[in-house]
Amino acid sequence: MKMINIKINDMPLQVMEGTTILEASKQVGLKIPTLCHMNLKDFGIVNQSASCRVCMVEVEGRPALAPSCSELCTEGMVIRTDNLRAISARRTAVELLLSNHPFDCLLCPKNLECDLQALAQDLGIRDIRYAGEKMNYQKDTSSYALVKDPNKCVMCRRCETMCNTVQTCGILSAVNRGFDVFVGPAFNLDMVDTSCTFCGQCVAVCPTAALTEVNNTDAVWEALNNPKKHVVVQVAPAVRVAIGELFNMDAGTITTGKLVSSLRSLHFDAIFDTDFGADLTIMEEASELIHRIQNGGTLPMLTSCCPAWVKFFEHQFPDMLDIPSTCKSPQIMMGAVIKTYYAEKMNLKPEDIVVVSVMPCLAKKAEAARPELTKDNNNNVDLVLTTRELGLMLKEAGINFAGLPDSDFDHLLGESTGASVIFGTTGGVIEAAVRTAYDWITGETLEKVDFQQLRGLEGIRSATVKVGDLNLRIGIAHGLGNARKLLEDIKAGISQFDAIEIMACPGGCIGGGGQPYHHGDMEIIKKRQAAIYAEDRGKVLRKSHDNPYIKQLYEEFLGTPNSHKAHDLLHTHYIPKEKI
């Protein structure tokens, strides 16, 4: 690779050819402010629209300033990031953005999490020299998952990059031109009428509150304060390795015990683990896979835990609805078991139980509202909170999360195995399924449960796992664009697999749209992944079918995996949907 000599603020340095001025500045410890720019290198996700003009710098010998995020260094380039001309250009850009932005920061859902607010602070903006017309658009509150408020949009196009390039859903586009431009779906449709999967990756990267989640905290507070209701909470695996970040703990800190204590402080009547639902999912899914393999059923079998993925294939591959597993997701299985098995045991009427889920995900909110999963009000999930919303509730309640002691989930639906913990990361669901399928197919006990070949952060991975005489061909994809590639290869007969795991979000649930904001720092996602595997290693039981409470559930209530009763409560069907 060719090296180039440049000078930044009188400092000489060498950079590789193809380096942007912004990257070069980082090498010498300079921070040039940015807003629209996003570079999630490890996932190959780049937004380089250079639309915000916040990162302008001076290049000697040129009449105009250059956007450092997209301008490449050239031999002999002399750059100034710190003179008055550059600083005032950047300040002007931010002032112009603010002149068309609501000043309701105190009431804004992104207060203290907003990149524009942080920028105004970093640049010392104390006055806005421009006054003019302001955008005035309707908020889109049509869905159960996300809220779109175009009045807070700064046209950075990050959401479009996620929606179009990374997830290939193609829902969001710039509409109109000039001052009238805004980001929205085709024909100004409501989000709920589009093929949006509600993966929430647009929310995860939005620098302002133009895209946020539907807030359910008030409804949960009301349920908790209703003496007639028995309020049960369940927590997804990826929440326990991320929520600490909201309380100034290091990324990747495992906070399972504190999380349980914090939920106890909020006075939930029972605190259960979605991991139990994940173990239950493996019982059903591994049985389904073995059944399909041994009886010439449709292969590959695709996992169905991720509701954004489910909605994606319903819209994009409506002719392939026979290949996903029919298993409900762990969250929905938990809802079903809580309102039947648990209700019976506790002598409670299902209608008196409120099931609250804490999820790293926005799509889980939409999933819980799907008609076929709510038709029976005594067999469902009532309210879904994101990791961030639970953080808000804990702050509101004045709970010192980081200082809490550890405690354990409640019995019956609170015990889980290492197999279920890894559901939180890409590769985890299929590894959990393999651990169980191995024992069941071979009749032996698998000693080495770590399948390194299934782990990692590559967008599309494949591996062959030897299970007795059988070579199990496994495919893994995370990010819906990668999932699309994998599916198209299967459709075209290029790839052949027995089982495929798909998660919609880059990294899996650890990178979900409901997690604490990563603000472009992918190290955070990696640390969460390492924490998930550490939690798995620390478990005595590492295989779902070894969970004694799962065994008890089948003995006392469900019979065997894939039994009639199990089908009735734990399985679902898919509905072909239009692509728009």
Binding site: N164, C169, G170, I171, L172, S173, A174, V175, N176, R177, G184, P185, A186, F187, K579, I580
Partner: protein, 168 residues
Amino acid sequence: MANIFSLENADQKLKALDAFILEQDAKEDALISILHKAQELFGYLPSELQLYVARKLNIPASKVYGVVSFYSYFSQEKRGKYTVNICMGTACFVKGVEKVMHAFSEQLDIKSGNTTPDGLFTLKDVRCIGACGLAPVVMINDKVFGHVTENDVSRIIDDYKNMEGSEG
């Protein structure tokens, strides 16, 4: 969204559109010419037609809508028989096209973007049409009128009305 076949002579027009799309080499790059063709055939680009094009080219409908809403040449509303495009580009603006716009608006009794009740005229302001030497420029369907002043407006409108009368 209405069914595309509820549009007038949709069957025949879609056949012509399909044939045009087939002729294009790089389909996605040809989006703008395909939209031009669609508008030429149907007179405007209702959402069901945009969706048809999107599915035909296998691109997101939001992308097609983004392009259609960006260019003022494309119309999403049914237009009159004659579209009066008033160029609001810099050169025409400097040469006083605002007065011409005002005269058309007053004499047709409609605002820019609207269509006269008899379905004859649609008035539109457009961005530079690239005939700056003739500024101020008005384009009625494919016919270009150069150096237009507000005094020419009533004559132009009458010519079209008369043409209509003699045809009828």
